[in-house]
């Protein structure tokens, strides 16, 4: 298990105009975040008493964590269901998960009024609060993700003892990760169920926990397609289309169940009348359900589109966009409150954090054995 220095040196850092822009936007975002910590939310955001949650909660937190669900889904598929053929995409997916959760924690630090007290979550408990559960799950799951990812680092460093230890507890770790994810992915939905009179009936549901869980699984899988797309475009890794197309076959099932239940709910509760009324809620509802749910189902059900690089990538984009639209509709656009558009500072932080995530991902791809070539020889060495 040598440090494959030669291999690392061969990896080219994708330093082009795009990457330079990512660095600049990342730095700008961090700068604005520091400015926000010094001068406060009032001076930097368009949040107000009538709009206490904005872009950071609905997009960065709720959508970010939802899109990171690929980490637990892939871990379960490979380690629990023993479908080893998907192994090559486990590492980048877990890394994406870890980065997303780190970014979610950073977002929380930017959004909290009293960020220096985030540790209060550990000492003051309120088991009635969905956010309490989410806080704990995110803390624990970020640790689990770090541990799940640590073998990659240990391999690169050639540390055999920690590698052995972590290998010995892999399965319990994976099970913990799957459980924690199921808990907080659904509890993010529970968080919004307490707003029955504030969220528009087309978007509010008592079944939020189930919806959030299902859409997170679908979008998490779609995210793995996006990662492979990014890695193949940027680093020239092979786009594992056959493997990915087999993986995304699950998406029509997951989104199909979601679509059927949500549509049934619409008619059972009588809320379809808001669709007939028209207006912005009806239009957005249709965009969300058609563009973010039906279109991905069609894309991934058809084996031709699924096995086509463009088809599968577009399908993934629609699935991810569907999740983002779903979260933003429920937690921002159709939640009662004062008029709100994010300030440039809020946008800068959101963009900056996303860029920070890209920088972290690219650094890992460059320095760590992210895409192992599982030749028999390599397996023996492990």
């Amino acid at each position: 298990m040598a440090v494959r220095l030669g291999e690392i040196r061969l990896r080219r850092y994708p330093l082009g105009p795009g990457m330079i822009l990512v660095w600049i936007l990342g730095a700008l975002g961090m700068g604005v975040a520091v400015y926000r910590w010094i001068f406060g939310l009032g001076a930097t955001t368009n949040l107000s008493d009538g709009r206490p949650w904005g872009l950071w909660i609905s997009f960065d937190m709720m959508s970010g964590i939802g899109l990171a669900a690929g980490a637990f889904t892939m871990a379960a598929i490979v380690y629990i269901f023993n479908l080893k053929k998907f192994y090559p995409i486990v590492r980048p997916t877990i890394l994406t998960g870890f980065i997303s959760y780190t970014l979610a924690a950073l977002t929380l630090l930017v959004d909290l009024s009293q960020p220096q007290r985030i540790w209060h979550l550990i000492i003051y408990w309120n088991v009635h609060s969905p956010l309490f559960e989410i806080g704990w799950c995110v803390m624990l799951y970020t640790t689990v993700l770090a541990l799940e990812f640590s073998p990659v680092v240990f391999e690169a460093l050639g540390w055999k003892v920690p590698l052995k230890i972590i290998r010995a507890i892999t399965i319990p770790l994976i099970i913990a990760g799957v459980t924690l994810s199921t808990m907080h992915q659904s509890t993010l939905g529970t968080m919004l169920t307490i707003l029955p009179d504030k969220i528009h009936p087309l978007f509010y549901s008592r079944l939020f926990p189930l919806y959030f869980y299902l859409t997170a699984i679908a979008a998490g899988l779609a995210m793995t397609v996006f990662e492979s797309f990014h890695s193949s475009r940027t680093y020239g890794y092979p786009f594992e289309i056959k493997m990915l197309s087999r993986l995304v076959k699950a998406i029509p099932w997951v989104l199909g169940i979601y679509f059927v239940i949500r549509t049934a709910e619409l008619f059972i509760t009588g809320n379809y009348r808001y669709l007939l009324e028209g207006g912005a809620p009806a239009v957005m509802y249709i965009i969300e359900m058609v563009g973010g749910v039906l279109v991905p189902i069609l894309y991934f059900s058809d084996s031709h589109t699924r096995n086509d690089v463009h088809g599968i990538t577009w399908g993934a984009f629609f699935t991810m966009g569907g999740l983002i639209l779903n979260r933003v509709n429920a937690a921002l656009i159709f939640m009662d409150g004062s008029f709100y558009l994010p300030s440039w500072q809020e946008l800068a932080v959101t963009v900056g954090l996303t860029c920070l995530g890209l920088i972290m991902f690219d650094a890992a791809v460059r320095f760590l054995p992210m895409f192992p070539e599982p030749t028999p020889k390599a397996v023996k060495r492990l």
């Binding site: 949650w53 380690y79 629990i80 009635h128 029955p196 028999p376």
Partner: protein, 302 residues
């Protein structure tokens, strides 16, 4: 259509619920709390003359900064905010006008208390909902969850806290009434037990046809400590049309279901793992007992 929705949840919960939904929702709050002897206030908009004595008395007692009009002569806040825990607002249309007092409703089942992740908000047995600023992390979930949008925050500060009416809990403990009701010169705002306030409100409604025959706060959001009667539609006075659902009752079954989710997910994952990793199973490296399963597969599958 609350009933059909509830029924639907039961059906869906039974079918698919094991993962994200507790199959049999049990509620901690569904047992009706006896609120008869808890502290309460009754505001009668037909008596209020809009003198704002309550508003000013509140600011004095809570040490809140005055907000003055451009001339600097009048205490003139525009809405509840971090420096205004209670406010008298005017409703006016072509035919009529009326004042209305806003402040924390001190719900019987407060959503804010239930959602606060660090327990910074507390519902006292005696009625008031109070805020422990030393715990607050500033997530502002209370602001989002409050059906009456009462909690406000100090946006202009680098480290803002939540600000809201505390029902003069300290004064009540000393046997005194809240400052606002004490200051009210007309009796538009009176203080007493919730039962006494409801009795007075009912008596007034029966005696006078001009009242809207509804006590706002008796059932809204599962009941509130602050009760209102008026001769105007409550939505005109700025009150939200609020269902009678106790909001914490919605989330609590899910939170209780968490333990079930843990149990189901751990058992299910372990069972599937054991089943898929039996000897001779495809994809297994055959290195049983030594966690060899966690290594990459031998052959590269396309």
């Amino acid at each position: 259509m609350p009933i059909s929705r509830r029924d639907f949840i039961k059906v869906a919960g039974a079918g698919l619920g094991a993962l994200a939904l507790p199959a049999s929702p049990v509620s901690a709050n569904s047992i009706e709390k006896n609120t008869d002897e808890t502290a309460s206030m009754l505001y009668d908009s037909t008596i209020c003359v809009g003198c704002r004595a309550c508003q000013v008395a509140c600011k004095r007692r809570a040490g809140l900064e005055h907000q003055v009009d451009p001339s600097g002569l009048y205490e003139m806040p525009h809405d509840l905010d971090s420096r205004t825990w209670t406010i008298i607002k005017l409703y006016k249309d072509q035919e009529t006008d009326s004042f209305v007092k806003n402040q924390c409703m001190h719900c019987v089942h407060p959503a804010c208390v239930s959602v606060c992740p660090v327990g910074a908000l507390e519902k006292l047995e005696s009625g008031p909902v109070i805020y422990h600023s030393e715990r607050c992390i500033g997530c502002r979930y209370c602001m989002a969850a409050c059906p009456f949008s009462v909690p406000k925050t100090e946006w202009e500060k680098p480290l803002p806290f939540i600000q809201k009416c505390d029902f003069c809990a300290d004064r009540q403990e000393n046997g005194e009434q809240p400052k606002c009701s004490e200051a009210c010169p007309t009796g538009a705002l009176i203080y007493g037990t919730r039962k006494a306030m409801l009795d007075i409100a009912r008596t007034r409604l029966v005696g006078e046809d001009s009242y809207v025959q509804h006590i706002y706060g008796e059932k809204e959001a599962g009941g509130t400590s602050m009760l209102y009667i008026s001769d105007l539609d409550f939505t005109k006075l700025g009150f939200p049309e609020q269902s009678d659902v106790s909001l914490p009752d919605i989330t609590w079954p899910y939170m209780q279901g968490t333990l079930g989710v843990i149990g189901v997910m751990v058992t299910l994952s372990t069972a599937i793992y054991l089943r898929t990793h039996r000897k001779g199973q495809n994809g297994n490296n055959g290195n049983n007992g030594n966690n060899g399963d966690n290594q990459p597969p031998k052959g590269k599958e396309a």
